[in-house]
């Protein structure tokens, strides 16, 4: 691909999934209107979900899912040693995601509840960066294909990849939504990184913070806001722990 003064190389990319719902990988096949152009940018080396081809020479590895079994740790370590750029792809990979809710319960109990008569291996859920070095994170449960597309285009063209530093409220206001706090709900929009185009709040459900904290969040002011509006403490806890994306802030009590 040649563009005035530049030669662009296709991205030698591989996609792998771990403990997850595979919804983020599925997004790669969405946005059908530009899908063929999108695939043109990629030299897909491994992508088990849609292709039987499997090659081990790739530069970029998309890692979907969190890590919760020993074989996954080993698979991930091997991928890390091959990939030049390792991308944590989706909330599970970036923060642990909903899977981390399991960590609230003793592992023995967890297994006994679902497999009463069979021993099944499971570890405490970890995010990818707890196991290997992550070069780039693409947040979202699921990831926003538009954003993924833009980021991969940036990688092809050698542009710097930057995620919004501001919170979801900015996008929410652009869409003229009525603020969910005005409707009596707790919304994590003010402290969550934008980029999803405020889908949840536009659907009138509160943001649960799947994209993790935005830059320099003001947690004390946010907690004060919840206290001052007499909103439910339990509700807040349930929301802020939902994706495990606010790990660093969960010690806070409103």
């Amino acid at each position: 691909m040649k563009k005035q003064g530049f030669t662009f190389e296709k991205l030698k990319i591989a996609s792998f999934d771990f403990t997850c719902c595979e919804g983020c990988q599925l997004q790669l096949t969405n946005k059908e209107s530009t899908l063929t152009d999108f695939f043109e940018l990629l030299d897909i080396r491994t992508f088990r979900e849609i292709s039987s081809e499997k090659y081990d020479d790739y530069d970029i590895a998309l890692i979907e899912g969190s890590i919760s079994r020993q074989d996954e740790v080993e698979r991930l370590t091997t991928i890390r040693s091959q990939a030049k750029t390792l991308i944590a792809f989706g909330t599970c990979a970036c923060f642990g995601g909903v899977n981390s809710l399991k960590n609230k319960f003793p592992l023995k109990e967890v297994v006994a509840e679902v497999y009463p008569d069979m021993p099944v291996e499971t570890l405490l859920v970890r995010k990818v960066s707890d196991v290997v070095k992550v070069d780039l994170s693409i947040h979202g449960c699921p990831v926003n294909k538009e954003e993924v597309e833009r980021i991969l285009v940036n990688l092809v063209t050698g542009s710097q990849v930057s995620l919004p530093k501001y919170p979801v409220c900015v996008e929410c206001k652009e869409l003229l939504n009525t603020c969910l706090f005005e409707l009596g709900e707790i919304c994590l929009g003010p402290i969550t990184r934008a980029g999803c185009n405020a889908v949840c709040t536009t659907g009138k459900t509160p943001c649960l913070g799947c994209r993790g904290p935005s830059e320099e969040i003001n947690m004390p002011a946010f907690l004060e806001l919840i206290k001052e509006r007499k909103l439910s403490q339990n509700d807040f806890q349930e929301k802020i722990t939902f994706y495990n994306a606010f790990e660093a802030f969960t010690s806070y009590e409103a």
Partner: protein, 424 residues
């Protein structure tokens, strides 16, 4: 006649999730033909414990990235039944429409991305973009339509945002519904292209009689809720899901197995077709006939065609649903409710078959116990026995290693297994 054969597929491709196929034939005797699911379990039934009913559908939708709407609605239905909540009419219609969108998306993903390469002898859809541009374009158009339906009805195409206990948090705007209707009409020719293409393929013939399970409601093609029936004459209430599934574990699989009247049974598009043929839209019946598909078909490969037939039905039914929604007031579509203790099952027809969520709530509406039985779980045993039978037949016919391997892969894919979902 082939006397010795081994097959060891590690992480089968073009399916959702991780599973292996291990086959050993020695001295003309089938030693083992295993369908081994090695997916990492996530323990959703534990995660929901103590969670407020309001939040649960957002969690359970994350069981599956392909059929998140079904999971969300199964939970919602279970919780609504447990807490005696009656969602408004319009909400029910919109939910059905959402299910259509998801099924269309899922079926087209399966038909074009996952199995079409098998028939065209390519590793993936990518080379087909150039060799079959029209068919691929048609497939993408249909998939896009499915996603668009989900987007308009639930706010996002994967992991719905506006499906909530009690109804919908936000109704779709009529303008968007109108646009959607136009889009549906415009894309019907794409479906014709797809049908013509699949008619040109040779669908393998393989028959092993089995039992087909699906929902049934007597009035329409099943989607959300109803009675649980099978082609062997079983007919039970929604809450009796345990006696329909009889889950058991196998030590080589993290996904469980189920059984009903026989050693194995099937859920999915073909099961729905076999049990509810009469309720299909006439156009869908026509398409079925053009493939020589009629109930009860026992050929698992025909599941692919049943999916195509369902797509035809969906386009027609979605248009009708939109028409009736356009005549309704779409403002308040959520009933307010009281949190209460209760327990109930929600069964829905997910793209891959009947899906059960069972929920028990305490007086504050928090979940104290949950159980989910996934369609693929209900197909595991059948896949397992099909693999054995097809290997035996193929060896008997003296097929080459490569041919047997491909047949095995294809028969598994024809079930459109959703493995990560089955190991939730």
């Amino acid at each position: 006649m082939k006397r010795d054969y081994t097959l060891d597929i590690h992480h089968l491709t073009r399916v959702e999730g991780h599973a292996n196929i291990n086959i050993t034939v020695k001295d003309g005797e089938l030693i083992d033909a295993r369908w081994a699911i090695v997916e990492t379990p996530r323990f959703f039934e534990v995660m929901v414990k103590g969670m407020s009913a309001e939040r649960v559908p957002f969690l359970t939708s994350r069981i599956c990235g392909i059929c998140s709407i079904s999971h969300s609605l199964a939970s919602i239905r279970a919780l609504e039944r447990a807490m005696k909540i009656d969602p408004p009419d319009a909400a029910e219609k919109i939910r059905c429409l959402a299910m259509h969108g998801e099924t269309l998306q899922s079926h087209t993903l399966h038909l074009f991305f996952l199995i079409m390469p098998d028939f065209a002898n390519t590793p993936s859809i990518l080379p087909l973009i150039h060799s079959y541009p029209d068919v691929v374009r048609a497939g993408l158009q249909l998939k896009e339509l499915g996603n668009e339906i989900s987007l308009v009805t639930t706010g996002r195409c994967t992991h719905p945002v506006s499906l909530v206990v009690g109804g919908l948090s936000k109704a779709p705007e009529k303008q968007l519904l109108l646009k959607l209707r136009t889009m549906i009409r415009e894309r019907k020719p794409a479906l014709d292209t797809a049908c013509a293409f699949f008619r040109s393929l040779t669908i393998p013939l393989f028959i092993r009689e089995t039992e087909f399970i699906s929902l049934f409601n007597g009035s329409s093609y099943p989607s959300i809720g109803g009675r649980l029936i099978s082609t062997d004459g079983v007919d039970r209430d929604e809450d009796d899901y345990l006696s329909m599934t009889n889950e058991y574990t196998r030590d080589f699989s993290t996904s469980k197995f189920t059984k009903l009247s026989r050693a194995s049974s099937v859920a999915g598009a073909l099961a729905r077709f076999n049990n509810n043929y009469d309720r299909l839209h006439p156009k869908a019946k026509e398409v079925a006939a053009s493939f020589g598909l009629q109930p009860v078909s026992h050929n698992p490969f025909m599941n692919n065609i049943a999916q195509l037939v369902e797509c035809v039905h969906i386009l027609e039914d979605a248009e009708a649903l939109i028409n009736s929604l356009l005549n309704m007031e779409l403002r308040e579509i959520k009933t307010s409710y009281k949190l209460q203790q209760g327990s109930a099952t929600g069964a829905v027809e997910a793209p891959r078959g009947i899906l059960y969520h069972h929920m028990e709530t305490d007086s504050e509406g928090k979940v104290v116990h949950a159980d989910c039985v996934i369609p693929t779980t209900q197909n595991n045993a059948n896949i397992y026995y099909d693999l054995q039978a097809i290997t035996e037949q193929a060896c008997y016919a003296g097929k080459s290693d490569r041919e047997i391997e491909k047949l095995c892969e294809m028969v598994v894919r024809s079930y459109d297994p959703c493995i990560s979902c089955s190991v939730h």
